[in-house]
Every structure is written in C-alpha cells, then in structure tokens.
Symmetry: C2
Subunit: 203 residues, 2 copies
DNA sequence: TAGATTGTTAATCGATTAACAATC
DNA sequence: TAGATTGTTAATCGATTAACAATC
C-alpha cells in the first residue's frame, strides 16, 4: 500500500490556485502570494518548485504560464480513464463530476452496479453489471478506480480490480483495504473526517 | 487554520476496526492484529494507545470493549450537530449518510440551498434557505459544517459560517478556504485526489 | 523456564523552518 | 545603492522506527 506524498498534494494545490490566478488575468506571482492562497509558507513554495527544477526570477517572481506548463508536464497531459464501482449516493454524485474532471483530462468512462435498474445512462456515464469490470478496464486502459460500494463488499471489489490491472484506488468505503505494496490508495472516511474535526474543536 | 492531527486520524481508524472485530465476536486483540487491519505498524498502535494512557496486558493484548470505552471517552459521547451547505450532488449524497452517522452521534440536522425547489424534506433532512443559516446554528448548537457549494461562493459561505459560530469545516469546494487560526478545516478536493493517485501510479 | 507481547527509551529519518547568500 | 525576492544550506522539529526491558 502506497500513499500519495505530501509534496505531490501541494503541487496539485498550487496548480489549482495558479489556474484561478490565471482566470483573473494575473501573469506573474511571488512565492508568498501563492503560499498564502495555498495555505503554506513562501519558503515551502520555493522549495517545492526548486525540488522539481522549476525556476523563478530573483526579484521578479514566477511566470504563471511557465509554472502551469511545468506542472502539467509533471502530471502528464494524456487522458486518464477512471471507473466508479457502486452507483449509490456517492457514486452517482461523483459521476456528475465528469464534466469538471474532463478539463483535467480525467475521464470517468463507466460505472458499475449490481442493481439492474441502475444499468442505464441517466447518470451521465454508461453503467454496467460487475461482470463487465475486467472487460472495460482492459478495453479502455483504465488504471484508476473509485470504490463507492458498501463496506462489506469493498475488499472483494478491490481484489477484482487489482486482478484486472487497476493500479490506483480512491476508496469511499469505510474500511482500510488490503492491497499489494505497489498499489496506490487513498481512503476517504467521511465520518472519521467529521469526528476528527469535532475532536479538534473540543480539545 | 488548523488541521486534524495524524494521531487522531489513526485513533479513529482503530475505533472503526475495533467495531468490526467486535461485530465478529472477537473480545481481545494484539497490537499487530490491529496494526495490520488499520494499515500501521504494531509499535505505532502501542505508542498511540500509550500516549493516551490506554493500557493493555503484557502477553494478553488489549480488551476490545475497554479499548472502545477509552476511545469513546476520548472522542466524547454527546450528540454532535452538523449542517450541510449546498444541496447539489455531493450535498444530497451526504444527507443520505445521516442514518449511518447517527450511530456515531453525528447528526446532520439541516441542509441549506438557494434553490427554493430544493427546500423540501425529500433528502431526509430539512432544507432551508441560506438566510436561516445563523438561526439554525444557534438554535441547534451546531459547531461543524460541510461546505458543498460551487467554489465561487465557498469563501463567502465560509465567512458566514464562522461569523455564526461554526468552529470546524469539512470543505468539498475546490478551494483552500481562508479561516482564522482557531478554525479546524479539512479540504477534500476530489480531482486533486485522483490526479495525485495517477501521478504516483505513473512514477 | 521459554516465549510472546506490551511499553518505553534511544536512534533515525524526513519534513519543515531559519538563516542567509545570490541577484535582479 | 537599497530593497525585494529567489534559492540553497544548515538547524530544528516532529514523527517513525529500532532496540530492548518488563512481565505475563
């Protein structure tokens, strides 16, 4: 099991902030501006860029277009195909994100559910029965899957996905999935997130 | 801006795993068992428990009921009221979690949306117009809010929430919200999560 | 007694911060 | 030249891991 590194999370956050600045017509940015909106220190920003070979101008800051080009190069500009397993409330909500995701070259190409009544196109993406998982993964060269099934079947679904070639998983089921060392996984447990926030409030 | 600490996240994860073990009828657990399912080392488990004054028996492991009692004491057993701002796809999906959340004393007491057509009870929780936010927060003693509005209005909503007394925020809008030092915040950016996973896969 | 497990102290590692040199 | 900013090296801090003592 491998987790996404913090520096990568920060770089993605910078990318998002830079796109916002660009929309506002800003063309140059200083490390302290970017740090402020991204929620990190200016030194952290400069260090992150430096570590990935991204150069600014002393006294002149960083050119936003150059930064975005560098970041896009780091994260790759090819289309990434994604599937969702489980079309319950969360799965359906995520399927609606497709339009937004497509701007970032993230394409949700299919959803899967055992309920035949969900196997139609009303969710914006084609829905298939679970038996089709392996077939679609191969056909569309899918490397990443979102698990949004009940926790009781999450590990079983996870095993099928990995056997079919999936390399990365975003898991919304409230269990820590067991996966081989090389698989990248991010577990999102909403009630734990809420409980964690509340604990800190009351501390 | 304060973030939820890692040790707290682990304790919550332990709690979840322990509940699963308990359901299976297990009454005693060793640090290596718990570590394995929680995805951490046995030493980490023992250190976390030790730091919070939770004792096991040398050679005999930990009693699951005692552990759960200790963890419940740490996290508090009173009812916590939560509101959701924005009843789009994510907001509606989260409102359906209420039944599950209630088992953990997390009560989603209201949702808010500017769209009058959403102000009915079909989502399992009462929906109000945004003007009612402050009133409901005071009335129900709400300390925690989930932001699920479009990013353009997320900061404005955040400011209103904080002015109304909210202390903790779970944010699904793709922006880093600016909040005072004491406010606890957790930003979940789904496309960043997917991009981060994909970056690590391709590395 | 031998073996297994907890629990703590010391060592290591990695990430963040401080300090400051370089330079526009 | 003075001031502002980048970029790097060194110092600090915190978290994880290793080692091992305690004890059931």
């Amino acid at each position: 099991m491998a987790l996404v590194r913090n520096d990568i999370k920060r770089l993605l956050q910078y990318k998002l902030c830079l796109l916002r600045f660009k929309e506002l017509g800003v063309s140059t940015i200083y490390s302290h501006n970017l740090g402020e909106v991204a929620g990190v220190t200016a030194v952290q920003v400069r260090k992150d860029f430096s570590a990935y070979g991204i150069k600014g101008k002393k006294r002149g800051g960083y050119n936003i277009d150059n930064l975005l080009a560098s970041l896009n190069h780091i994260f790759g500009e090819s289309q990434k195909n994604i599937i969702i397993i489980g079309m319950g409330n969360i799965g359906r909500a995520l399927s609606q994100y497709n339009e937004r995701f497509i701007k970032k070259n993230l394409h949700i190409v299919a959803g899967f559910d055992i309920d035949p009544s969900k196997q139609n196109k009303s969710y914006g993406i084609p829905i298939f029965p679970p038996e089709k998982i392996t077939e679609i993964i191969k056909k569309d060269n899918v490397t990443t899957a979102i698990i949004a099934v009940p926790f009781q079947v999450a590990q079983e679904v996870c095993n099928i996905l990995i056997a079919s070639g999936i390399k990365g998983i975003l898991n919304f089921a409230p269990v820590i999935l067991r996966v081989p060392e090389k698989i990248i996984i991010d577990n999102i447990n909403l009630s734990n997130k809420l409980e964690g926030i509340i604990y800190n409030i009351e501390e």
